[in-house]
């Protein structure tokens, strides 16, 4: 059977992979994808809590509501980030964060 612990382990694993990606990747686009991974790890955790923990009706919905907000805000964040990356690419012809160093990173 799937239990809350499984979801939590999956979520923690995804979050760790995302964090690794953010720290290790050099392409701005891949960093963004890693951030998406971190946010989705949070979503899995939320859905897990909402589904398995013995909350009452009102508080159970909190987790699910937060998931919707996280998804939409992540999309907005991504759209803005891609726009800025495109601008940066036109200015500097690179999306490698090691080379984006006009000011020390």
């Amino acid at each position: 059977m799937i239990e809350l612990a499984h979801l939590q382990i999956l979520s923690a694993g995804l979050f760790a992979i995302g964090t690794y990606g953010v720290l290790a990747r050099r392409s701005a686009v891949l960093i963004l994808m890693s951030i998406e991974l971190m946010l989705n790890a949070v979503n899995i955790n939320l859905v897990g809590y909402a589904a398995f923990v013995d909350f009452d009706e009102a508080t159970r919905s909190f987790g699910q509501v937060l998931v919707i907000f996280v998804i939409t805000i992540a999309a907005a964040e991504l759209a803005l980030a891609i726009a800025i990356i495109l601008r940066l690419y036109r200015n500097r012809s690179t999306v490698n964060v090691d080379e984006i160093d006009l000011m020390k990173w």
């Binding site: 979050f15 963004l32 803005l80 990356i85």
Partner: protein
């Protein structure tokens, strides 16, 4: 949702409405200078509504007006604490818009968007000061972060884009971390409403391990990390200097004042309401005390080496985040007979003093560097002769940032270090004073360059009327509250009453 709920939300709604109005006006008018006037005059509406709410609150002799939107889950409150921040935020936004009236000519056809983004961010910050529920806190945090990222990248050159990208990526990481912490707290307590979290925690803490349980330890630390980014405290400070240097200067001013104020508002709210249990507050106050000491030391030491005035102010803002966190560390539960509100009221008083001072400094920097087209401290040489008034204001605000009388910086430092002494944190107060002395070195360097060096160029540096207005208002505030701070202190003390009762 009732009409009363909308009435409570009206300052935020009118702020967002003003932003949308500006976008629409920008689409139809061709004379862009109208937009500055519309923006500044329009800010009177949220300000007026906040004042109405304040008097309504006093009339009812109530501490809070709660909005539950019909769900019996209180997500939004209007109290003196939130209104204090709304006044501060609307005032700071008005001054930033005034100060950028000349600067926006660099943006060619994007005046409306610039002001609209600032106002959207402000509406998010105002929400942040009022909300008492984790989901709303997350949404309003993002509502402040996304427009600021767009604003930081507004200049279309590579420096500005780089600043925007750095801010956005690091802010996204920090909010993911914050969310993870929130989710753990939600899973632990089964609710996202701050007051209910406090009640639930009452029965769950074991009183032996740190933070009363491992899950909560993890959750609270992640939340501190997430918020630490917003207020640029060490070790989450790495974005601040770069973003400050690369962003358009008015955005830097906005970021250093309004964004920081909103961050402290939400930290006070979360920690004083949700984690107010005594065994918890002793633990997180220790975390904040250490972060405070490290932040101020790091910020001041690195600021000494900077040549760019915006970057220097970026490091100085990290140091000031450190001073402000002294107020967070000074919780009443450390000493049984201490004044319960001295810590949080110190944060509010210091924040407003810092806001006025920093806006004065930034208005002067915007006015000067916009004309001479340089942010380097060396290019300010001999500014006392080229622009005596602006140089005077900049010098005066530097003195206030060090914390020398007769300025508001001095008063707020005395108050917040006094709070530390009252709660048995003498070592932190001493660290703060030593740091103030260190900071004198780089602040006074600016004064020295302006007054003692020969000017590079003899042409006088003028400034436009709105610019002069912003500079004068902030300068007057810095001096007035430095001589007579009592009204501001009383306001701050009455505002934080609601947190500790």
């Amino acid at each position: 949702m009732t009409t009363h709920d909308i009435y409570l939300l009206s300052p935020e709604i009118s702020m967002a409405g003003l932003a949308i109005l500006l976008i629409l006006v920008d689409l139809v008018v061709s004379r862009k200078s109208i937009l500055t006037i519309v923006a500044v005059l329009g800010l009177a509406v949220p300000l007026a509504l906040s004042i109405v709410l304040w008097f309504d609150l006093t009339d009812q002799a109530a501490t809070q007006m709660k909005a539950d939107f019909g769900t019996e889950i209180v997500t939004f409150v209007v109290d003196k604490f939130s209104l204090f921040f709304k006044f501060l935020l609307v005032g700071a936004t008005a001054l930033v818009i005034l100060a950028s009236s000349e600067y926006v000519s660099k943006f060619k056809n994007f005046h409306g968007e610039f002001f609209a983004l600032i106002l959207f961010a402000t509406s998010g910050m105002m929400l942040l000061a009022s909300t008492v529920e984790l989901i709303t806190i997350y949404v309003s945090l993002e509502l402040t972060a996304l427009p600021i990222a767009a604003l930081a990248a507004f200049m279309r050159d590579s420096r500005s884009s780089e600043a925007g990208l750095k801010f956005l990526i690091l802010s996204a990481i920090s909010s993911a971390v914050l969310l993870y912490g929130m989710v753990i707290i939600y899973g632990f307590t089964g609710t996202t409403v701050l007051a209910d979290i406090a009640t639930q925690l009452g029965g769950l803490l074991d009183g032996e391990s740190a933070f009363g349980g491992n899950a909560l330890l993890f959750g609270v630390i992640l939340v501190i990390a997430g918020f630490g980014f917003k207020i640029s405290s060490v070790p989450f400070q790495m974005w601040a200097p770069d973003v400050y240097e690369g962003s358009p200067t008015p955005v830097t001013a906005f970021l250093s004042v309004a964004s920081k104020a909103a961050g402290f508002a939400v930290i006070l709210r979360v920690f004083y309401i949700a984690f107010s249990a005594e065994i918890l507050s002793v633990d997180w106050s220790a975390v904040f005390a250490v972060l405070a000491a490290v932040s101020m030391t790091f910020g001041n030491l690195v600021a000494i080496r900077q040549n760019n005035i915006k970057r220097m102010l970026g490091y100085s803002t990290i140091a000031h985040a450190g001073y402000l966190m002294v107020g967070l560390a000074a919780v009443a539960s450390r000493t049984p007979d201490a004044d319960a509100i001295i810590g949080p009221s110190g944060v509010l008083f210091y924040l407003s003093g810092y806001a006025i001072t920093n806006l004065a400094a930034f208005s002067a920097v915007i006015a000067i560097s916009n004309r001479i087209n340089s942010d380097l401290i060396d290019s300010f040489a001999g500014m006392a002769r080229r622009a005596p008034f602006l140089a005077g204001v900049l010098g005066f605000s530097m003195i206030s940032l060090i914390g020398v009388p007769p300025t508001v910086g001095f008063m707020s430092k005395i108050y917040i270090f006094g709070a530390a002494v009252d709660t048995n944190l003498e070592w932190l107060a001493v660290t703060g004073m030593v740091n103030s002395v260190i900071s004198a070195y780089y602040y006074l360097r600016v004064v020295k360059v302006m007054y003692l060096r020969e000017p590079i160029d003899d042409a006088p540096v003028g400034s436009a009327l709105p610019m002069k207005l912003a500079v004068m208002v902030t300068m007057a505030g810095t001096a007035f509250f430095g001589i007579y701070p009592t009204p501001l202190i009383n306001l701050a003390r009455s505002a934080v009453d609601v947190l500790v009762s």
